[in-house]
Amino acid sequence: MVQEWQPDLFDSGPVTSSDQPEVRSPAADASMRARWRALILTDPVARLVRNAAHASVHQAYDLRQLALAAVDIAVASMGFARQITLAELIESTAELAAVMHPGGAAGDHQDAARWVVKGLLNDADNQGAFVYSFVDAHAFPPRREEYAFKLLQLQDGPDGAVVLASHQAVMLYLNGLDLDVDDAEAAFSVVLQRQLRDRRFEAAARTATQAERVSVAMSASLADVLDATRRDVRAFDWITDVPHRLARAREHVEARIAADAEVLNHVAAGIDTETDSAVRQASGDLVETLRRIRRVHLDLAERVAGARGVFLQAQLSQVFARRVHLRLLNIEPELFHPVLDAPAEQARVVAETFGDRVLGLRVPRLLHLDGLVDMLLAPPRAAEPADQETETPGDVEGVDLQAYPPAVVAEATRILRRAAAEPVPLSVLLGSATEATEATGIAAGGDDLRELVLLTALWSYAPDVGDPDAKSDLTALTEALSAERSGDRLDHPLAWGDDLLVRYEGGLDP
């Protein structure tokens, strides 16, 4: 952890040493560290955009804008009763992502939102702080300072992890400029007055909204102080530091409420006398915004008023409290590594002791209605589908339904054997088949015989090497046949094309 000076909304500015060796530009040097920090705060966003190319995040998303939106959403919910959860933040960011890339799948939007939020949480570095080192060139010898900050942090909440934005994220949110809160206020009111005189009501409303953000930031910062105080009174300096902050917050609210009331009167009076409907509309919107801002200011005032009470209450309840023992255990080097290094038997004893203590509380399971509903609504355990045996066609219980009758096969074999002595054209063989059909009168088998002779010849010309294991009566026959093109034409009711010379190469006897 770095215990260096951390920038804070309530701090007035960086501390610089007065005995600098050489002054090039006093104004630039004085603000160097603050500007360096402002620059560094945007680096995590730049990094997540850079690395997105390596992750599967679609290019259509404007990740910088998504990051700003995620911080906006987190800041907007801070310090008030209802804080945003991580799940809600992802969903809201994904909705914006969906607008950016309408053609994308819902999963892509989620991926982009998740990538952005993970980047802001510094997921790549186990969700720790971002650490950068600054070289103080004015110190002699030059000194390196580590600057650590977080942008988003997670806290346990009733409905899941709650997302908080750090002071630094709030600063980034306020345009990442090194804003002095007081100066910003003054600037806002000057700008606001000028805009009202120029009758630029829309711009005035925007300026007023920016002033609102300062209040939100103060409110969030104060909520942090109070939370920490409730946990441990010693967390903040309540003698000088916190009263000072409270006084400034009080002044801020007082000044803002007075200024806003003035603007409100001015605008409200304008609405009554104004004839231009557009101006009346803009004025009405401005009144609406100012009223909302006043509620934010009043909320901050309430918080400031109750702060002292929280401190006293915490002091009262903690003064006799059991002294919190310091948790000085550094798990990784003191426990995790030694256990990994120990022999398996010893390691098991230690690891089991640890696991038993973390996990070892068993509560008998009772059926609660809510639990039961969850169980009933849970998707059923999918039974793995049984393997479907693919059927091989023609393999039905030994009987080949498409087989030719034995008589046809015998006749075809007889005809094809004529090619044993010398090659016979296919047209001649088909002619013999026709004759044989007429002579023997195989009932209804004429077409079958011609077809079988033709197909066998074609097979021997261009065998279909699909199933080398299949053995049948015909296999021996076709293996003995060979065929080649004769160059003549074949013209037959069953076939038309190049004629084939068929040769029977097997022995004369089957």
Binding site: M1, L86, A87, I90, E91, Q110, R114, V117, K118, L121, D123, N126, Q127, L154, Q155, D156, P158, D159, G160, A161, R231, S317, F320, R327, L329, N330, I331, E332, E334, L335, F336, H337, P338, V339, L340, D341, A342, P343, A344, E345, Q346, A347, R348, V349, V350, A351, E352, T353, F354, G355, D356, R357, V358, L359, G360, L361, R362, V363, A382, P385
Partner: protein, 258 residues
């Protein structure tokens, strides 16, 4: 000091809420009201602590958002050993890996000692955590062991973890199958969810879990200390055994811990 009988009832009710890991205190509900009473009223706090003690439980803390965090005393009816979680069917290596995973989650979540005192919570992702444990195992194994001692010859815990496959696919469903370390991580995280020490965050992707404040208290206030104590005691036993083994010149077997 006498405690009104109604307060005893309320105290027992609060303990019952603490046992129900799904229950969440809010400002309005009974749990929230009882918890607020526990946090502000010393007499009631004593009553609750006493009722819990009688049941064999210890109250570790009562954060407003988390509720009553309970742990067991030895021999309590509520006590359960990690090894019994999978129906008592875990092999020695399974137990070791599961224990290393719990330790790994704690080491991942609390990299510095001050983290045990902050309420920030972290997201744990199955594959990332497996990588974290593996990296630590690699680092440990890179250090040379002492080959002369009994310890140096025995199989080291890191080796057992590293030798087990990181991921085995299931036949048809997504996710790791039994027998790989990612399955062990997923299983342990499931146990933590049942215990109320973690919660699933499907929005951050499959296999993502959020650790709760309860996990921090359990690690910081009970588990860490007891595991350190166990580590010291097995080391003492091992050293004593090595010494006597050297005297009798009959070393060679590792020593069962306490």
């Amino acid at each position: 000091m006498t405690v009104p009988i109604e307060d005893v009832w309320s105290a027992a009710e609060l303990v019952a809420f603490g046992l129900r890991t799904g229950a969440r205190p809010t400002d309005g509900n009974t749990y929230g009201q009882l918890l607020e009473r526990y946090r502000t009223n010393t007499a009631f706090r004593d009553a609750v602590d006493t009722v819990a003690g009688g049941l064999g439980l210890v109250v570790l803390g009562a954060p407003a958002r988390t509720g009553l965090v309970l742990s067991t005393q030895p021999g309590s009816v509520f006590a359960l050993r990690m090894a019994d979680l999978r129906g008592g069917s875990m092999s020695a290596d399974d137990k070791l890996i599961a224990g290393l995973v719990v330790l790994g989650i704690a080491a991942y979540a609390f990299p510095h000692d001050v983290d045990l005192d902050t309420t920030d919570v972290k997201i744990v992702e199955v594959a990332a955590l497996d990588r974290f444990v593996r990296d630590a195992a690699d680092r440990v194994l890179a250090l040379p062991g002492d080959p002369d001692t009994v310890d140096g010859q025995a199989r080291r815990a890191a080796e057992v973890y590293r030798r087990t496959a990181a991921f085995k696919p299931k036949d048809r469903l997504p996710g790791p199958a039994r027998g790989c370390t990612q399955f062990a991580v997923l299983e342990v995280l499931g146990w933590l969810v049942e215990r109320g020490a973690a919660r699933q965050v499907p929005q951050m992707g499959a296999g993502s879990f959020q650790l709760t404040d309860r996990f921090r208290l359990l690690v910081a206030d009970v588990a860490g200390g007891e595991a350190l104590e166990a580590l010291r005691s097995v080391r003492r036993t091992a050293t004593a055994a090595a010494d006597s083994g050297a005297v009798k010149a009959s070393g060679g077997s590792t020593v069962e811990g306490v």
